[in-house]
Every structure is written in structure tokens, then in C-alpha cells.
Amino acid sequence: MARLDTMPEPMRSHLAELPCPVFDTRPWVSGPPLSRRRVAIISTAGLHRRDDRPFEGMSGDFRVIPNTCTAKDLVMTHVSTNFDRTGFQQDWNVVFPLDRLRELAYDSTIGSVAKFHYSFMGAADPAVMETAAEKLAGLLTGDQVDAALLVPV
């Protein structure tokens, strides 16, 4: 369970004491109904194509995952040993629900699935992700994405 109060030590204290950024602003962007939205997945699970660069260090950069990617193409090189990987090893959708998005687009619950998806490695300091997020926003805009589904690990 990802409930802090039921987590065993020392993991509970480690997570409880992780510094979280505090922001002065509350950005809010509206958009069309879900049935007309174009959705991209942004993961922080340290995912990438099998032949792409592994995640190393804490640079806060991201990897591009094309919409044509399949379960056999996608691997995980997140540095942390403190979360379960067996769910992903059974079924990539438990971390990266691209098949679910495809189904939602097929039955018109969402408008479409983005051409590209992205993954960061979540152990990086959030502050160092800001520069990468700016680049990413440009890429998402270019792909006409108006719904980013952010999935942690």
C-alpha cells in the first residue's frame, strides 16, 4: 500500500521527510470535453526504448516513447530499488497504460492518443526538471496534446 501510515520503516520516514516544492501560483488551463482531448502519458518511472540511453545520475532529463512502442520495446532503468518492479514485468500497462489509452481512443471516450509519450526518472530533484519541462511543453504543444496524464511509480 502506498499509505505512509502503513508503510514499514525506514521507508515510511524516508518518504515522509522528502522535501516537496511549494509554489506561489496555482496554474489552471481549461480545455475541450474529454472526448475531444489528445492525451499523452508522462511517466516518472525511468522508462525508455530498449536501445535508448539508460537513466543514470539525476539530470532531470527525459526520454521519448513513440506511440508505436509495444511492451517488448520498453524497459525501466529507474535508479531506486525501493519500489516494486514485478507489476511492470507482468504487464507494462500497470505503469505505462498506453494500451488503455488506445482503447479509450478507439471507443471515442478520448479524442486521440498523442504521437509521442515521455518518461523522466522520478528520483531526480523536481527543481532540475523545470528546464526539461519547458522543452517538453513545446513538444506536447507541437503534437497538439491538450491532456497530459502524469503517472508516477
Binding site: 502506498a2 509554489f23 516494486d84 500497470v94 505503469v95 497504460p97 488503455r100 471516450t109 526538471m129
Partner: protein, 245 residues
Amino acid sequence: MGALAHYLESRDIPTTQISLIKEHTQKIQPPRALWVPFALGRPLGLPDDPDFQRQVVLAALTLLEAQEGPILEDFPHDIPKKTDTDQDSLEQLACPVSFAGPVTHETETEKLLDTFRQEMAEFRSWYDIGLEKREYSSVIYFPPEAALQVFTDFLSDKPLTLEENLSSFASALRFAAQDLKAIYFESVMFRPDMVLPDEAVFTRWFWQKTAAGAVLKAVKEKCSASDDKALKMTGKMLLVPMGQA
């Protein structure tokens, strides 16, 4: 995750997110978040359950239709726990190799590595069967022979060979450790005598019952004692989970 949502929404990209640690999301206050009560590593909850995963994805996406925020909603469904009886099969599989045998070992490390070799030989059959059936594996750089080699060499003080596109021996050991765990889990996945264990049972079994887990703990100790900064950090933080050392 919440910070990333904040940065993207500030640049005109509407975001919604899954939250695994509610306390973090409450502090960061991203625009839209769905808290789920699932284990770390399983943000969609249940593997191989498309209906359940669809509910989670839809609940998160539906937050995009809210008129104002920030919003932090709870996903209303949890995952039914497997019973202990369901998972007894894995406990019985623990360390199939006896430490007693005809080989005379000179050191505890040699004894451990010999047990590891025999254990890997048994698990490898099921890993290979799974690979053939599924046509892929989560293993990235170190399939069984290579994983066996790198840890045996490291613990035997032999020089390591660096795989192409890995930047350091510290990285190689980290990736080999992840691959070794994947080899064991994928072996369990394809055994006909196994009920697939939940994540907590598998973790406990791997770290407390297998020779592979003992090998990784020995590698951790050796790395932690190293003068090499990257090896030391890898040993301290990146090979064995908190609470398992």
C-alpha cells in the same frame, strides 16, 4: 510528479496525474490529482486487469473536466489481497539448493557463489521457457549467464568487463542487480507449480530466502567498503532496498 504537473500547466498544457503518496500531493498542490491506494511501482493497481486499469485511467482523465482546482480526489477501490494460502507455493520454492554437498569450499564467498550457480541453473530453465513463450523479457543488459558472471567476478576479485553503452562498473552492477531480480521473477511467472505472488511476498522471498538475494547483499557490502565514490554510493543506496539489508 506534482512539480512536473505544475511546470507543464504553467506552460499551457492541461495536466492530470495519479498520486501514490497523498501527503506529497497535498503539499505540492498540482492542478488535478487522483490518489490511489496501491503499492509503489503499481500506479494502475493490477497487472493483467484491463477493466480495473481503465477505471483508474478514466478517473484521472475525468478530472480534466472539472471547472476549478486544485483537485485531489481519492480513487474509491483498493486491490483485494491474496491469501497466505495462495502464496505458500513460493515460500516452498525457497532456495532449492542445499548448502551441503561434495564440493569443498575454501571460503564463505565461494560457498555462496556455488549455491548461487546451482540456483541460477534451476531458475534459468523457467526464464528461458518464459522468454520463448512471451518473446521478450524485462531483462535489459544482463541475461542469466552475464548476471552470473558479473557477480561471480566481482565477489571473486576478478576484473569486470564493461558492457557497451554502460558508463561505469557501478552502473553495470546496478543494472545487473535489477536484471537478476527480473530473471527470478520471470522464472516464477512461468513455473506451472506457482501462484503468482504479490509484490510483498516476492520481495520478502527474494531477499530472505534465495542465494541471489544473499549475493546482492554481499555485493552491496563490498561496494560500500570501496574507495571508489560511485561504487560506494551504489552499494549504499542502489542495490538492496531499504529494510532488506
